[in-house]
């Protein structure tokens, strides 16, 4: 296991390095001049020069790159242009709601998707299978902000079950205000999960374990419950892991629809603020988060299924 971990982390090094480089390129090597985006139409040349100096854009690119990496190693991502705070401090405030939203979103996703996947796997090619796949296609085609807006309209305004947005003040309020947003993300996740889970349940039903259990005379129901659920959740972990990109993108959109002060609204405010250090920091954090989840997925998969370690 230790060897597996070391190997896996070693493989990660070039990717992390690449992410850092890509984030750097995003701000420093794109065709547009960030100073122009920041200052708007026809700015004074002096103002452009001042901004270039402030951001260190007047130094050679290699020097900028080294400074950026040096900053990262010392935990310095610069300062926000609008809030008198360091990016690192701001991110530490904005990350918890996003993580919570992603966790609750995936829980809801699993809660909806697993029964549906098992049901459709058992009744493969029957009516319910087709119906679920049609519904999946409908949800897949719905922009997630629209699902969120409808959720607010019907579950928060018409029937006032949930708060319409915001994040509350106490921990309990935080949790409660994340329910509707997480439901939205969970719902958006369902088509992606059901499709893969259904396949893996069908495969495991056809597998030798189940054949063996059947030959032992186990009743059908307990066979499904035990093996289908167990195998389903193991593959569920890896499938969820793969979908972390969707979760992160979804929370970016949903946080803005519901006004949750997390990384997603941080990035969007950064964009509307023309706050480049914020955009850079938020993008980097999102990417690191995804890589970390990939790693955790691999590790937990390896723990659950030892064969995976030798692949």
């Amino acid at each position: 296991m230790t060897r597996f971990l070391i190997k896996r982390i070693a493989l990660l090094v070039p990717v992390v390095f690449g992410i850092i480089t890509a984030t750097f390129l995003l701000m420093h090597a794109t065709p547009g001049d960030p100073a122009l985006t920041y200052l708007g139409n026809h700015p004074e040349p002096a103002a452009i020069a001042a901004l270039h100096h402030q951001w260190g854009l007047d130094k050679p690119v290699t020097q900028q790159y080294l400074d950026f990496i040096g900053g990262l190693f010392t935990g310095d991502l610069g300062n926000s242009l609008f809030y008198n705070e360091t990016i690192v401090k701001l991110i530490s405030l904005k990350l918890p709601p996003t993580l919570m939203l992603m966790i609750m979103g995936s829980l809801f996703g699993i809660i909806f998707a697993l029964p549906l996947a098992i049901w459709t796997a058992i009744r493969k090619d029957k009516f319910i299978d087709h119906l679920v796949s049609l519904l999946n296609a409908v949800i897949l085609g719905m922009p997630i902000f629209f699902i969120g807006a409808m959720g607010i309209l019907f579950l928060a305004l018409k029937v006032q079950i949930f708060p319409v947005g915001g994040y509350g003040e106490t921990n309990l309020q935080h949790l409660w205000s994340l329910v509707l947003p997480s439901l939205t993300i969970g719902l958006g996740l369902v088509p992606l999960l059901v499709r893969s889970l259904r396949t893996s349940v069908i495969e495991s039903l056809d597998s030798e374990y189940v054949a063996f259990a059947r030959s032992k005379g186990l009743k059908n129901r307990s066979v499904w419950l035990k093996y289908a659920l167990r195998n389903g959740s193991i593959s569920g972990i890896s499938i969820l892991g793969i979908q972390v990109g969707y979760l992160a993108g979804g929370s970016l959109v949903i946080e803005n629809v519901f006004g949750i002060p997390g990384m997603g609204s941080f990035l969007m405010t950064g964009i509307l603020n023309r706050d480049f250090p914020v955009i850079q920091g938020a993008t980097l954090t999102f990417a690191m988060l995804v890589v970390l989840v990939y790693l955790l997925t691999d590790v937990s998969y390896a723990l659950l299924d030892p064969r995976a370690r030798f692949k």
Partner: protein, 516 residues
């Protein structure tokens, strides 16, 4: 009749003393009794710049300052007269040069230290710095005296009639002498005043929370435990949160929501009398908008009536002069430029850009009304070959672009904070009037001189004649287009009681309470 009523009064008081129960009963019958307690959340779309009285040029800051601090006098609800506040009485000397203010006794700051005439003197001096945003408002003051702890005398260079009105502006709020021993910056972060509320938390760009000041001088007030001012840029989200009960007041509902919220239970929309004038503002320092013909061309493209119908849903009147009709200084003969495509083309042909140009119109993201108006203007401008790009900015970026002159065109509005027109004549019309001509950076030195002359005259008719001239000059230059005079719109929960913002904008939250 008089005598009889006096007798009756005596009887009534006796009965009340004897039977307190029936007294309370009669109060409930007339209007609900204010209930103490409760936390109120008010949602806003604009970012505050500062909470130090002498600084903020923006309503987002001013309206909070007015809750944390008190002024010597306050405007009456209709902005036509003045009422006592920290000063209980005031009078002018015969020569009109010296004003004497008697201070209320027993007033304490929110940290428990008593307020004296020394604090008043320091406060007025702090705000008299000509380099400050609001220094111009005190420019007539030559000397401030403190004969005793509860008396302040103010001497002016020449007889200056608006002085009492000026003592009611938030910028002349009373702060502790020497900032209570702190630096100005420190004080700015932890302000202390004598107002009904004191600052509890302030996260810039997110929220300001103020809580009851236990030392507040008016017995029994305020009723509310706390007020939270939350920045929620999206108009739609603000409307939803008030409707969903998460907030009680929407400081800036879009006009479209007046129509939509009418049938929603638990929420009401009220249009309060206001001094607000809304403008389409040009950055007068930026080519080609620095060209008066270009500005007039664009001004001729604005169909004010159509905007009022389509965007305001009829809640407003087309604007001509830049001073509000709520002020006596309003020049009713100015009608502004009519909507006229031919005239617009003709003006453009006279300009430096006869073949059109492109510019950016900056809107605060989530401001539905500004967004609609920007699209209307974009569509009209295209007809004369002018390309307008709409750029959505977060409130803080919007404010920054406004302050460092980097925008082209934007929308904005002004409201008066005092009952005298002097404030807005300067704030919106003059470069050094605290707001850089409402951030249009329009500079008219002739008008500046006229405005200085006007305040030396103690005759309203004569002053009005001067203000009329300034407004005509403004109309000729069109540094910005006065769009409409609109009421102050608020949507709020029906639980909010006694909420009645003044024409001058003051919320007077000390009177507001929440019913169960």
């Amino acid at each position: 009749m008089r005598i009889v009523s006096k007798k009756l009064l005596v009887t009534a008081v006796t009965v009340a003393l004897a039977l307190p129960v029936s007294f309370t009963f009669s109060q409930v019958a007339s209007a609900a009794t204010p209930v103490k307690g409760g936390d109120l959340t008010i949602l806003r779309g604009d970012l505050e710049s500062s909470l130090t009285p002498s600084i903020p040029p923006d309503n987002a800051g001013i309206w909070v300052v007015e809750e944390i601090f008190d002024t010597l006098l306050v405007p009456a609800a209709d902005a036509k007269s003045l009422k006592p506040s920290l000063a209980t009485s005031w009078s002018a000397s015969k020569d009109g040069l010296t004003w004497t203010f008697k201070l209320r006794s027993g007033v304490k700051f929110s940290d428990g230290t008593p307020m004296t005439s020394k604090d008043v003197k320091f406060s007025l001096q702090e705000n008299s710095n000509p380099a400050g945003n609001w220094g111009f408002i005190n420019s007539s003051i030559s000397k401030i005296g403190t004969p005793d702890p509860l008396t302040v005398t103010i001497t002016t260079k020449t007889p200056y009639s608006p002085l009492p009105a000026v003592m009611a502006i938030f910028a002349n709020s009373i702060i502790p002498n020497n900032y209570g021993g702190k630096t100005k910056d420190e004080f700015g972060k932890h302000p202390i005043g004598t107002g009904p509320f004191k600052l509890a938390t302030w996260t810039k760009g997110q929220l300001i929370k103020i809580v009851r000041n236990p030392y507040y001088w008016e017995a029994g007030k305020p009723y509310l435990d706390s007020i939270t001012f939350k920045l929620v840029p999206d108009a739609n989200t603000r409307a939803n949160q008030v409707q969903g009960g998460q907030a009680q007041i929407n400081e800036f509902p879009s006009f479209s929501s007046v129509k939509t919220l009418k049938n929603v239970p638990g929420v009401k929309v009220t249009a309060f009398d206001s001094s607000a004038v809304n403008f389409l503002i040009f950055n007068n320092t930026k080519a080609p908008l620095s060209d008066v013909h270009v500005r007039k061309a664009l001004a001729s493209l604005v169909d004010k009536k159509a905007i009022i119908t389509a965007v305001l849903f009829g809640n407003g009147t087309p604007a001509g002069a830049y001073m509000s009709p709520s002020s006596w200084s309003h020049n009713a003969s100015i009608k502004g430029l009519p909507y006229d495509l031919t005239k617009a083309k003709a003006e453009l042909a006279l300009s430096t850009q006869p073949n059109g140009f492109s510019a950016t119109i900056m809107v605060s993201s989530g401001n539905a009304d500004q967004n609609s108006m920007a699209q209307i203007l974009q569509s009209e401008a295209a007809k004369i070959g002018v390309t307008l790009q709409i750029s959505q900015l977060d409130p803080s970026a919007w404010t920054a672009a406004r302050d460092n002159k980097s925008y082209d065109i934007m929308f904005g509005y002004d409201t008066t904070d005092i009952i005298d027109p002097d404030e807005l004549i300067r704030f919106t019309g003059l470069i050094d009037g605290g707001g850089s001509s409402l951030w249009s950076y329009y500079d008219n030195q002739k008008s500046a001189k006229l405005a200085n002359d006007a305040v030396l005259i103690d005759n309203q008719t004569k002053r009005k004649a001067i203000y009329d001239k300034i407004q005509v000059a403004f109309d000729n230059d069109q540094p910005m287009v006065p769009l409409y005079y609109a009421p102050n719109l608020y949507s709020y929960s029906t639980k909010v009681q006694a909420f009645h913002p003044f024409v001058t904008g003051n919320y007077n939250f000390r009177n507001v309470w929440l019913s169960k």
